[in-house]
Amino acid sequence: MDTRELTCINCPMGCRITVTMDGGNIISIEGNTCKRGEVYARTEVTTPVRIVTTTIKVNGGVSDRVSCKTRESVPKEKIFLVMEAINKACCYAPVKIGDVLISDCAETGIPIVATKSLEKK
């Protein structure tokens, strides 16, 4: 049996959660103040995930970069693969918030969406 201490990253409360595990099985989760915390803890000790926020190259816009994000979390170990894929890519102005810029990023199944609108030059 071992315990892992986590800080939940879901919201700025940052609850300290203690996960007790036996081998690969979760025995208990304590310290969260909401259900999302429990979900986070469960995922974090098995298959940690993260949202990646960055910028992407733009052609023909008033600026040549626009901010974007993975629409949902991606496996933490794939963060740099996701970044590489975004860095190689390029999108075209005009861009609207929410536009899908890459439909499946680095084979995670998760799209990259724009988080800001950008007009054509």
Binding site: T55, K57, R65, N87
Partner: protein, 481 residues
């Protein structure tokens, strides 16, 4: 430009620039060679900005003569060249009754040197003039003709005026050797070899090295470092005059002074070093500055510090200005050891050296010479009507780039595009004050960089802080690493 000149001036600090301006009155080809990327890059950019009254220097010395003459020339020069200058007067403060004779001595020295209108003030008078003065004040030497000036504009304006009147300038050109070849000199820089009849050595901390290339009678410069703290403009009015302690062997001491732009300046230390190329601010220096300031003034608002800086003064072993033709190398003229009161003295040194060199080369005066040089147009120094008329015609004067010092895009464009214009962040800073305010460029520097890039064609990631390898950016995001 062809590489043959009558006169080559080495160094584009205040000394070289002042001499260049004076020589530009004559029919001759003059080149100023500067090792750094811009004017005003050495001692001239990191000093107290004081125009000294002249009681401090030893009577009969060149320091004394040049100080007095320079102080006398400054008001007209400031007008001709658009230099911020205020004759606010100075106080040498005595806080120990047993040191009173030192004040009397300075006063007498001042009389001998020809300093006008000095007075020794009693305790009450000093307190009235300076409410924040030390509670231990005994008396003070008051010299009304001391002043504060913008050293950047002084240097830049002297050079711009010289350039307007035909003097050439070349930058990023460190002089590697000077050789006398019969009746002329060969001055070698990394990219070029120049030829001239006379050389004027204004190379600051390196002026001994240049002198020693041509003379057997060696000179020696010790770079003397001075740390400063610059306080926010909200401290304006904390002191009203330049406040000096009584001087020591090491110099005039740590002063507390208003600056001509409304800040308060505290410093400098006087720390001898052997590094001519780097002037760090040290923890010890900062401690000395705060302790030193507290001796004469109560409650100096050091918490309002916005930046510290440090400069090197060229102290020659003799402790004097060496302003003469080198006896074993005729045609090579020294301006060596230009430490304090070098800033004050520079117009006088210009006059003095120009007269020596023009006599040597039998130069004739030009029929027309323009002493006037206008600074970058500043909308916030104009009347409201003038300002709005300017903005209507040139909308870039309506776009504020540096919020802290209220500097517009129009001013920055002017600073970049004018002859001898800025090509770096520091160059823009010295000409416009953008980046000198309380946020120290945090808000404006990306915008200033964009303007420099746009107006000069330098790619944004090659824009530098002050030339050489001082690039601000290392590349674009999403570059291949």
């Amino acid at each position: 430009m062809n590489n043959s000149y009558d006169i080559i001036i080495i160094g584009a600090g205040v000394t070289g620039a002042a001499i260049a301006r004076e020589l530009s009155r004559y029919e001759c080809r003059v080149l100023v060679i500067e090792k750094d990327e811009d004017l005003c890059s050495g001692t001239s950019k990191a000093n107290s900005g004081i125009v000294h009254a002249g009681y401090d220097a030893k009577p009969g010395t060149l320091k004394a003569k040049m100080n007095i003459r320079g102080n006398g020339m400054m008001p007209v020069l400031a007008q001709e060249l658009d230099i911020p200058f205020k004759q606010i007067g100075s106080l040498v403060v005595c806080t120990d009754e047993s040191m009173r004779s030192g004040i009397e001595e300075l006063y007498q020295r001042g009389l001998t040197n020809g300093v006008p209108n000095m007075k020794i003030l009693g305790r009450e008078e000093v307190i009235q003039m300076e409410p924040n003065i030390s509670e231990n004040v005994v008396c003070a030497l008051f010299a009304p003709n001391a002043g504060i000036i913008c050293p950047f504009r002084l240097n830049i304006a002297l050079a711009e005026c010289a350039n307007q009147n035909g003097v050439d300038f070349v930058f990023d050109s460190k002089v590697l050797s000077v050789e006398k070849k019969g009746d002329h000199f060969e001055v070698t820089a990394p990219d070029e070899v120049y030829r001239c009849s006379a050389v004027i050595n204004c190379a600051g901390c390196h002026s001994d090295e240049l002198h020693n290339m041509v003379s057997d009678r060696k000179l020696h410069i010790t770079p003397r470092r001075g740390d400063y703290m610059l306080l926010d403009r909200s401290t304006k009015g904390f002191v009203n005059h330049v406040i000096f302690p009584q001087p020591t062997r090491l110099g005039k001491g740590i002063l507390v002074t208003p600056t001509v732009h409304g800040n308060t300046l505290v410093g400098p230390t006087a720390i001898d070093t052997d590094n001519k190329d780097e002037a760090p601010v040290t923890a010890d220096g900062l401690t000395q500055v705060s302790a030193g300031s507290a001796r004469n003034v109560e409650g100096v608002p050091l918490r309002q510090v916005i930046t510290g800086f440090s400069g090197l003064r060229a102290h020659e072993d003799s402790g004097e200005f060496i302003l003469e033709e080198v006896s074993d190398c005729p045609g090579f003229f020294d301006c060596v050891g230009i430490e304090s009161p070098g800033l004050t003295a520079c117009p006088a040194i210009g006059e003095y050296m120009a007269s020596q060199v023009s006599a040597k080369l039998s130069l004739t005066l030009k029929k027309e010479w323009n002493p006037i040089c206008h600074d970058v147009k500043k909308p916030f120094e104009m009347s409201a009507n003038e300002r709005n008329a300017l903005i209507k015609e040139h909308p870039e004067y309506g776009r504020i780039i540096c919020r802290c010092e209220t500097v517009t895009e129009g001013e920055i464009i002017d600073a970049v595009k004018r002859p001898l214009g800025a090509r770096s962040l520091d160059g823009v800073k010295r000409r416009t004050r953008a980046g000198m305010g309380r946020c120290q460029g945090g808000f404006c520097s990306p915008r200033v960089m964009e303007i420099i890039s746009r107006e000069t064609g330098i790619p944004l990631d090659e824009v530098t802080k002050n030339g050489g390898n001082s690039k601000i950016l290392t590349g674009r995001t999403k570059d291949e690493i």
